[in-house]
Symmetry: C2
Subunit: 472 residues, 2 copies
Amino acid sequence: MTEHNTEIQPDNLEQLSLQLIEAQYALKNTKAKKNAKSVLILVNGIELAGKGEAVKQLREWVDPRYLRVKADPPNLIDAQTPFWQPYTRHIPAEGQMMVWFGNWYSDLLATSLHVSKPFDDTTFNTYVDQMKTFEQDLKNNHVDVIKVWFDLSWKSLQKRLDKMDASEQRWHKLHGLDWRNKKQYDNLQKLRNRFTEDWYIIDCEDEDKRDQSFAQHILKHLDHLPNHPVKVRSKWQQAPIPEALIQPDDQALDKDQYKTELKKLTKKVADALRTQGRKTVIVFEGMDAAGKGGAIKRIVKKLDPREYGIYNISAPEKYELARPYLWRFWSKLLDEESISIFDRSWYGRVLVERIEGFATDVEWKRAYDEINRFEKDLVDTQTTVVKFWLAISKDEQEQRFKAREVTPHKRFKITEEDWRNRRRWDDYLHAAADMLQRTDTEYAPWYVIATNDKYSARIQILNALLKQLKVD
Amino acid sequence: MTEHNTEIQPDNLEQLSLQLIEAQYALKNTKAKKNAKSVLILVNGIELAGKGEAVKQLREWVDPRYLRVKADPPNLIDAQTPFWQPYTRHIPAEGQMMVWFGNWYSDLLATSLHVSKPFDDTTFNTYVDQMKTFEQDLKNNHVDVIKVWFDLSWKSLQKRLDKMDASEQRWHKLHGLDWRNKKQYDNLQKLRNRFTEDWYIIDCEDEDKRDQSFAQHILKHLDHLPNHPVKVRSKWQQAPIPEALIQPDDQALDKDQYKTELKKLTKKVADALRTQGRKTVIVFEGMDAAGKGGAIKRIVKKLDPREYGIYNISAPEKYELARPYLWRFWSKLLDEESISIFDRSWYGRVLVERIEGFATDVEWKRAYDEINRFEKDLVDTQTTVVKFWLAISKDEQEQRFKAREVTPHKRFKITEEDWRNRRRWDDYLHAAADMLQRTDTEYAPWYVIATNDKYSARIQILNALLKQLKVD
């Protein structure tokens, strides 16, 4: 969507600046409000086209305190890291506006042009699709994405290179491409044409026009930030509640047999986790007192505490609420532990947040697909994802609650909130049924474990884990 | 302070667990309260002594949801990074308790034992001193630090190595030292004896005693968390207010001369920043409307926005308040930009926080030394620190405030808060005087700039910057 804008007269530039500042403050003031938004501006283009100058000019027209600029050298895309991972920590919070020079498209181009064996067409296109989908997920979660390509002809590029002085040359060399190489230039243009179809493309021959065109595009965008969607388009089909959730198997395991099995399996699990050569993410969901803590204890039994991290997920904090709901999990997965165990997880979006109304209908109904994509990206980048739903009967839960209340060192585990959740038992069953139906994928399956008998439950969990780790 | 504890009977273990859980919840409940605390447990020792097992046992006795464990492979200490930098992001927030296996002492030992040219005694001791001082700063800022050394004799270590199976060996190999090498063992013991004087040392021959001794030490500590100090020990001596702050020089610079100088200097500054081979941190403080924004604009004039980051510091958010006040600056300095410009800074501690009473007397009076140490650590690790106080007269400020109110695109810059701050003009002058006197160090000096004349101010700032960057 190339646009040839008419030049603005100097006396109108002050007007443009004022409008930008007003739009910026309007954005800033959405913070913590119902229609809160943040804006992410992805900036890419030909070297010396003037991305830097245009952003600098924008920064002079707006209130610079509320326009963050971020630039990193490109990360080469590899098979171990989701392309979004280097960036998620810096996703702007509600009310913020941010320009990103180094972004996933720079990475894609750098990887395509630098590696000895470049991406084939299919791989390249797959990445482009994934990036667009990721941006759509950001948009749905209130991070608006603007993409701008600064273009420059081969001839003008060469002319500008001729005119550069030494200190500038040093700086531009940092970007690592040989801009004197016509073949590389053509190749870059060919590649970027595969993804810039829906970008705003600025012809950078004229510097004033360039800066104004960029600023006006941002302004137009800020003035028309999309509303948060409120209508669910597709018809909602409630999943039937599986019998295994309502009446979990009660079969008890003999204590001696349990002990023998446990010893063998904990050892096997530790070996498997250490030797599989992938990271592992283990998710526990289930009703309160279903035995998540006890199960986690057994998984890590033969591991050293330095080998794993346990994340106990409760209500998000304010600064976490100012970002997409997956944000606080993205950042946890940046930690160095190769085994991450989640005692509750991102599934809170379709469980407690759905039930308590913290997420709107649109939001939680969309979350199943978002979560599936998130997990797929993990699995595709050397991470094994295993998910457990611990199923307990309503009677057994009551007994455990009461036992907790009279056991001194378990008393802390039971609060009024647990009793309150219990009163919404059926809501949780419905939500769990929907979740199991919609997020039980081939690459990240759910294991529903009957936990009325703790011994049997733990053995089942360890066996399921071994199965998912591809160990018999 | 080695302690030979008496063994606890099994029926008392439940009691120990209960006491630990109670202490843990008491800590947790200090969150956001007046006496809020967090606890950081540094764990080091001989391999196979059983640090991991002791922490695992502790985790079984406490509520594991509120005990985080963190372990990283050692970072070799180098001349580019303050030793605390890899850790600050993870400093526990108020109410949290955290065990750190990989910590600055592991780094010190690893660096001493691994590098081809090990630290000489003086360097080693200097690091130890710096680490202790840093810990004292953490403690003063409500992060309690517990240090535990798990010790094991050479003979027992060899016996345990003999008994290990393959999978465990793989794991322990990760730590990189050769535990079969008697000389290395002796060397390690010699080195650690130089810093473990004030540590809790656990003799790990007996495993049960080890775990109980560790847990009891933590419990004792949790039960006696020090109160936040409220008394200032030394007498406070108010600094005289320098004339330059009260009546800044008014000398005006001719516009043409300004333009010529500016062009030359902005270019020179950009060159110097790029070529000096160090990171640069530039701090701006001063009364409102003194021209911080305009000065920053000129510093970055010839830079590309990708080369620098501007941080506009306003009131800290809730999650930032839950950590030491320097925390939010530590994390900003982790960003990749090699030039960081702070529009207001950590000096807020001794300016606005002092004046508005957000920091107690003890806190802001202690902050001068803390800040000096922080900046010293930066300067010692390849960062140039330049600090500007922009001095404006009270009359000139009033004129600028009024001009802002009638200029559409500057209207946003003036708020009721600015007028409120103005009413505390003298308080700010006193605070600035104290700050200048106490933090004007040889390695990170203050430049007081008269800003009644904007042109002259900007030229002075650029020249001062060049001076500090050691360019004539």
